[in-house]
C-alpha cells in the first residue's frame, strides 16, 4: 500500500495543513470523498473522536469524474483536531474486476452459443426422426408391390427382369435398414435416460449372439434399453466387417476409476488408422460395399456420451478391432475396487 496523502484537520473537519502528498487546503475533508461514502466517513470521524485512533477504513475518494477506494487512518490530536492518513489500496483491484467481467461475459457468450447449438441439434434429430418415419410407409408399399409382382405374375418376368427386381428388393431392404437405424438414432437422443444398475452380463446375453463370448462383466449405471442397443450395434458392426473365417467377438471389462472400461474385440477386417476418426460419425461408413449403413457406431457414440462415457477403437487393417467403451460403475457396485480384473485374464490393451 502506498501513501496517498496525510492531512491535519481542525475540530470542524477543515483541512488546515497538508503533511504529505497532494490535498487541497481550507476545504472540509469530507469534500474529498464520493457522495456514497459520506455516511461511512462521518462515522469514521466520530470513531476517531471517541477512540483516539482508528485505522483500516475504506472510502471512495473522488478522482476526476470517477472514484477510487482508499484506506484511511485517523489520529485524534490534543486540540480536538485530527490527522488523517490515506493509503492507496494495492493496485490491480480495478484491473482484476475488469478482467473478471470480461471473463464472465465471454463465458456467457459461450453458454448462449452452446444452448443454440443444442437447439439446432435437437431440431435436426427431430427432422431426421420425422423424415425416416414418414419414408417408411411408402417404402413398405414398394416392397409389397414387388412381392405381388414376383408371386402373382412370374410369367411376366424374363430372367433379366427377375434379376433387376431382386436388385430393387435388395435396395429397398437396405433403405429400410437405413431408415430404421436413423429413426433409432434420432429417437435415442430425445428419450430421457432411465438410470439404474444394469448387469452387463445380462445385456450381452440378451443379444443371444452365437459368436460372442464374454468374461464376467460388472453392473454399470445406465439405461438398460440404450445399453442393449449399444452392444447390439457393436456386435452388428463386428459381424458386418467380418473376414471369411468364423467371426469371434469377445467382451471383457476392467475398472477405470469410478468407471468400467469395456473392451469388445473381434477378428474382423480391422480399420485403417486413417479411417478411425470417421467411423463414429453419422454415415461414417468405411467400406461403402459393406453391409453396414453407417449409423450403428454413431448410435454407439451417442449412447456412450449420454452416459458420460467415452468410446474409441484400436485397430489396424487386417488385425481385427477392439472397441473400448467407458461406462459409470453402478452406484452400489460391490465389484469395484475389490476385484481389479475380470474373470478372464487379458493383457492391457
Amino acid at each position: 500500500m502506498t501513501l496517498r496523502f496525510a492531512v491535519r484537520c481542525n475540530a470542524a473537519g477543515i483541512i488546515t495543513e497538508v503533511l504529505r502528498g497532494a490535498a487541497p487546503l481550507g476545504v472540509p475533508f469530507l469534500d474529498l470523498l464520493d457522495g456514497g461514502s459520506l455516511g461511512k466517513a462521518r462515522r469514521f470521524v466520530a470513531q476517531v473522536a471517541l477512540q483516539g485512533a482508528v485505522s483500516g477504513w475504506e472510502f471512495n475518494v473522488l478522482a476526476g469524474d470517477s472514484a477510487e477506494a482508499v484506506q484511511f487512518t485517523g489520529l485524534l490530536d490534543d486540540d480536538g483536531g485530527y490527522r488523517i492518513i490515506a493509503a492507496n489500496l494495492p493496485p490491480g483491484f480495478e484491473q482484476a474486476a475488469r478482467l473478471h467481467n470480461e471473463l464472465v461475459s465471454s463465458q456467457r457468450d459461450l453458454g448462449r452459443q452452446n444452448a443454440s447449438l443444442e437447439r439446432v441439434n435437437r431440431e435436426l434429430q427431430q427432422f431426421a426422426a420425422t423424415v425416416s418415419h414418414d419414408l417408411r410407409a411408402p417404402l413398405r408399399n414398394i416392397r409389397l408391390l414387388i412381392g405381388l409382382f414376383e408371386s402373382k405374375a412370374p410369367q411376366l418376368l424374363d430372367e433379366r427382369a427377375a434379376l433387376w427386381l431382386s436388385h430393387i428388393v435388395a435396395n429397398a431392404e437396405r433403405m429400410q435398414r437405413l431408415l430404421d437405424r436413423t429413426l433409432e438414432y434420432a429417437s435415442a437422443e430425445g428419450a430421457p435416460l432411465r438410470l439404474e444398475a444394469v448387469p452387463l452380463n445380462e445385456v450381452v446375453d440378451v443379444t443371444a449372439n452365437p459368436y460372442v463370448t464374454r468374461g464376467d462383466l460388472p453392473a454399470v449405471q445406465g439405461d438398460r434399453v440404450q445399453l442393449e442397443r449399444l452392444f447390439q450395434n457393436l456386435f452388428d458392426n463386428a459381424l458386418a466387417y467380418r473376414r471369411e473365417e468364423t467371426p469371434r467377438i469377445e467382451v471383457h471389462a476392467r475398472p477405470a476409476g469410478s468407471y468400467w472400461r469395456i473392451a469388445v474385440s473381434d477378428n474382423g477386417l480391422g480399420i485403417a488408422s486413417a479411417d478411425q476418426s470417421r467411423i463414429f460419425e453419422m454415415f461414417g461408413r468405411v467400406n461403402p460395399r459393406g453391409e453396414g449403413v453407417g449409423i450403428g457406431l454413431a448410435t454407439c457414440r451417442q449412447v456412450v456420451h449420454r452416459h458420460q462415457g467415452e468410446i474409441w477403437v484400436k485397430s489396424g487393417l487386417g488385425e481385427g478391432s477392439t472397441f473400448y467403451v467407458t461406462l459409470p460403475a453402478a452406484a452400489t457396485s460391490p465389484e469395484l475396487g475389490s476385484r481389479p480384473v475380470d474373470g478372464i485374464a487379458i493383457a492391457d490393451h
Binding site: 483500516g56 469524474d65 470517477s66 480495478e94 467481467n101 461475459s105 456467457r108
Partner: protein
Amino acid sequence: MVGIDQSFAGLAGGYLQCLLSGNGDGAWHLVKQAMADGVPIRDLYLQVFQPCQYEVGRLWEANEATVAQEHYCTAATQTIMSRLHARVFSAERTGRSAVVVGVGGELHEIGARMVADFLEMKGWDTRYLGPNLPPDEISRNVIAHDPDLVCLSCTMTYHVSLVEQTVAGLREAKARAKVLVGGLPFNRDPELWRRTGADGWAPDAGSLVDWLRAAAW
C-alpha cells in the same frame, strides 16, 4: 425495489456467510441444493444474489467488510451465475432481441447481467455487451444488430449523464429499439429516468420482464 421474501432469508444468509468467509464452493453447494429443492433461478437471482450484493455493500459501509471481501463475493457470485447458464439459456425462443449494456466507465455488471439473463429466460435473444461501453460504441452496436430493445444499466450517480448521452446518441442514429434504463440511481429517485430521454425504467430484472409481458412487448 425487490421486497425480500423471508422464506429465502435462511438461504441468503447462509450463502453470504460462505462468501464472506471465502468459501465459494460452499456457496455453490447451497445454490445447487436449492435448485434440487425446486427454487427457481428467478428467486436465486432476486432473493439471494441481489440482496447479498446489497448487503455486502452495506457491510462495507458499516466498515464490517473489506473491499477484498466485496470483490470476492462479487466474483464468486458471477461465477455461480455462469454455472446456471444451461438453465438460463434453455427457454423457447420468441424471436425478440435485446442489447444489454452498462454505460461507459461502469464496472458494476451483475445487475446488467441479471437483466440479460431474465430476458433470456423469457426467450429473448440477448446480446450482452458487458458493463463498460462508451455511448458511440453502444450506438454502433445497436445499429449493427438492430434489436427490439436496448437496456442501459448504470450504477454510479456520476454515470447518469452518460446514460443521457447514450440515449441521445441512439435517437440520433435513429435506432428502432425501445430504450429502457435501470440501476441504483434510478431506484433511489424513481423520477430520474425521465430526464434521460429513455422510454422506461424498471427497478429490477423481475419487474422488467413482468412489465414487458404485461405490455405484450
